[in-house]
């Protein structure tokens, strides 16, 4: 799941090497913290969060099989 977020984010930003995904694992949940270069923030959020919403949608689909609630947080 972590790799999925990294793959998508890296394809969207200008500085793929600065993409970081941290995992915070709970019993029934998984939080993925996505961190990108400050100037790339817009590239993973988009107008009115459209890109962030699309990323979450794909990640949610992938998580259905794992039976865990997965959330993607974009952090600074």
């Amino acid at each position: 799941m972590q790799e999925l977020v990294r793959t998508i984010a890296s394809a969207l930003v200008d500085h793929p090497s600065q993409v970081e995904v941290n995992v915070i694992e709970g019993e029934k949940s998984l939080v993925l913290e996505l961190k990108v270069a400050p100037e790339d923030m817009g590239k993973v959020i988009g107008k009115q969060g459209r890109i962030a919403r699309a990323i979450r949608s794909v990640v949610k689909a992938a998580s259905l099989r794992e039976g865990k609630r997965v959330t993607v947080d974009i952090v600074q």
């Binding site: 790799e3 999925l4 998508i8 394809a11 890109i51 919403r53 990323i55 689909a61 992938a62 099989r65």
Partner: protein
């Protein structure tokens, strides 16, 4: 990525030979000069051929398939992809088993993935391309469903005289509804609300 190295008397002739061998045109490749030619002393001692590396650039289609392959691998899905390009549109049809999760409710996941693919590819291409993803013929089936829905609701509006509001749809799906009823004698269609909650309304022709 396809790439070859060619040596010749001049850089230009080396590039020309490479293009012939790869059967592509100059715009489709990147050229890297590995060695400049030198005539040497009196054209005899130490003369050197020009050497170039010619690499075929990735097409938008290559970039899209590469991105999707990575995404699917990380989703644990094994799929087959089939690309067809026609007038600026790259249609990628995806086949495999248990791909329902790729479609999502009302195609939400498919639309999200399509949006991300377009962003990822258009960052790297000079010309804007439009990529359309389809999973197991979903888009075609959805279009038929929407056409039927439109006709059924038009009948209802005609019978009752009340307007009908459809659920929120994306621009593509709204257009399918508008198109399905544009020649209908009894009803008219228009959209209301803001994206992404914009909805189509079907109303009696002289009622609004």
């Amino acid at each position: 990525m396809k790439s070859i190295e060619i040596a010749a008397k001049t850089v230009e002739s080396a590039v020309e030979t490479a293009l012939k061998e790869l059967q592509v045109s100059r715009e489709d490749v990147e050229v890297e000069v590995l060695e400049e030619p030198s005539k040497g002393l009196f054209g005899l001692i130490g003369s050197r051929m020009a050497k170039v590396r010619v690499t075929v650039k990735k097409t938008a289609e290559d970039l899209a398939v590469e991105f999707l392959t990575n995404v699917f691998r990380n989703m644990g899905l094994s799929v087959n992809m089939n690309c067809k390009t026609d007038n600026g549109y790259i249609n990628i049809s995806i086949k495999g088993t248990r791909l329902g999760i790729l479609i999502g409710r009302r195609g939400e996941t498919l639309d999200a993935l399509q949006y991300l693919t377009n962003l990822a590819v258009n960052r790297k291409t000079e010309k804007r391309v439009n990529i359309i993803l389809d999973v197991e013929g979903y888009r075609k089936r959805r279009e038929e469903t929407l056409n039927r829905l439109a006709r059924r609701l038009a009948e209802k509006v005609k019978r009752t005289g009340n307007k009908v509001m459809l659920e929120p749809m994306n621009p593509h799906e709204r257009r399918i509804i508008h198109t399905a009823l544009q020649n209908n004698m009894d009803v008219t269609t228009y959209s209301e609300g803001e994206e992404p909650y914009r909805k189509v309304i079907i109303a009696l022709k002289n009622a609004h």
